[in-house]
Amino acid sequence: MNGAHDMGGAHGFGAVVPEPDEPVFHADWERRVLALTLAMGATGEWTLDAGRFARENRPPAEYLSKSYYQLWLAGLEQLLVERGLVTPAELAAGRSLRPATPLRRTLAAGDATGSLKRGRPTNREAPRPARFQVGDQVRAKNMHPLTHTRLPRYVRGHTGTVTRAHGCHVFPDSNAHGQGEDPQWLYTVSFPGRELWGAGADPTVTVSVDAFEPYLEPTP
């Protein structure tokens, strides 16, 4: 979706302001939101990609006015309600008002460290040969799905070069919406800064994105 989260090239946000000696969290509730999100993610009730979509799929004004962990909180509440695991009435009451729904699994304390160590690899066996090779010229499609995608707007319609191939990975555009993993070839595609930002742009800059095969087409 063309949401407020897709920020590459936007103007008006001002300078980057680094924070010296920044703490890992700025408030205790941020710790809790991170942990709740990871623990619920480990239940397998939704995918990583569905989690991302839940955070980005909101009106731009709301996205931009929430802090990072406030977005995580909103996304988590939304996923829980959408899947019928928690009701809006329970969120309002601050307590459980009806029996729990059986989950696929829960994260035990004894497995929490192991779960972080294992991660959730997204590489998959290739269902078909790769369409592109390193060195190929490709164009990022001019596409504007209403659903989750990981092709940022600023590269769409532009021509770049395949510079790395990463094998096949879970396809977020499908996996975010309960349509299965549908593994796709993943490539790094490198664009000259001037291809993206015009003739006046810095000639020393190259910008690379990781693009799934369905995002790309051969150049004519």
Binding site: H5, M7, G8, G9, F13, G14, A15, V16, V17, P18, E19, E22, V24, F25, A27, W29, E30, R32, L34, A35, L36, L38, A39, T43, L64, S65, S67, Y68, Q70, E77, L85, V86, G94, R95, S96, A100, L103, T106, L107, A109, A112, T113, S115, L116, K117, G119, T122, R150, L151, P152, H166, L186, A201, D202, T204, T206, V207, S208, V209, A211
Partner: protein
């Protein structure tokens, strides 16, 4: 006033929350409501109570997850990887050709670092890592991302004006240095291998690790100089 000075002066309007350095639990909005706890704090408490009551989450597991991110998982891990690459040419080659295996040999890997790629800075190439769409970051080696990495100013400008972003960090590169920006749009996570600072000949690996800053492993900064560390 230069354009950049103007930009700095408007960097943190009150309405722009994602660029703020956090959420003060006692900010003005809370006082208006006369409440000890902010609405956000109350919502988080309510949610945690519900999830624990229903048995969806184990409170002890939450504590383990938090503790891991506050102590075990952080930029000190990446600093060890970089320092090893600085002293051991064989490890450096391994890191640049099979990053996951080289990093795993030091004990790091897992969530949000399932597929990592190390990028080498040289005298002619500087790498800068961003996630314009969210906050993708090599967590096993760098920990959780700082607020600026997740903020709109960084995500919007890193791909269009990387030298301007580097200026915000006080980094000025030679005009002919090639700047390679890596937008982490899939599950590949990028770690920058910065250049070893001059004047560190003969330094032990552990000493060198203390020169490696988090920002230098994102490409937004440079390692400390020897005189700043000793």
């Amino acid at each position: 006033m230069s354009v950049r000075a103007v930009a700095k002066s408007v960097a943190r309007p009150d309405t722009w929350r994602m660029s703020r350095a956090g959420d003060d639990p006692h900010d003005a909005a809370d006082h208006e409501h006369g409440s000890e706890l902010s609405e956000t704090q109350l919502r988080v408490r309510a949610l945690e109570s519900i999830l624990v009551e229903k048995g969806y989450v184990d409170p002890a597991a939450l504590d383990v997850l938090i503790e891991a991110h506050e102590t075990q998982i952080g930029p000190h891990n990446g600093a060890r990887v970089v320092a090893r690459a600085w002293v051991d040419p064989g490890f450096r080659r391994w890191l640049l050709t099979d990053s996951d295996a080289a990093i795993a040999s030091l004990g790091y890997g897992g969530r949000q670092g399932e597929a990592m790629v190390a990028l080498e800075n040289t005298a002619s190439v500087h790498n800068l890592v961003v996630c314009t769409l969210c906050s993708c970051y090599p967590v096993p080696v760098l920990g959780l991302p700082p607020v600026w990495y997740k903020s709109a100013p960084y995500r919007s400008r890193a791909v269009a004006d990387p030298r301007g972003v580097l200026h915000d960090f006080g980094v000025e590169l030679p005009a002919d240095t090639e700047v390679r920006v890596w937008d982490s749009t899939a599950e590949v996570r990028y770690l920058v291998l910065p250049m070893r600072p001059a004047g560190t000949d003969g330094w032990e690996e552990a000493e060198l690790a203390r020169l490696v800053t988090r920002d230098s492993m994102i490409g937004a900064g440079l390692p400390k100089r020897p005189q700043d560390a000793r």
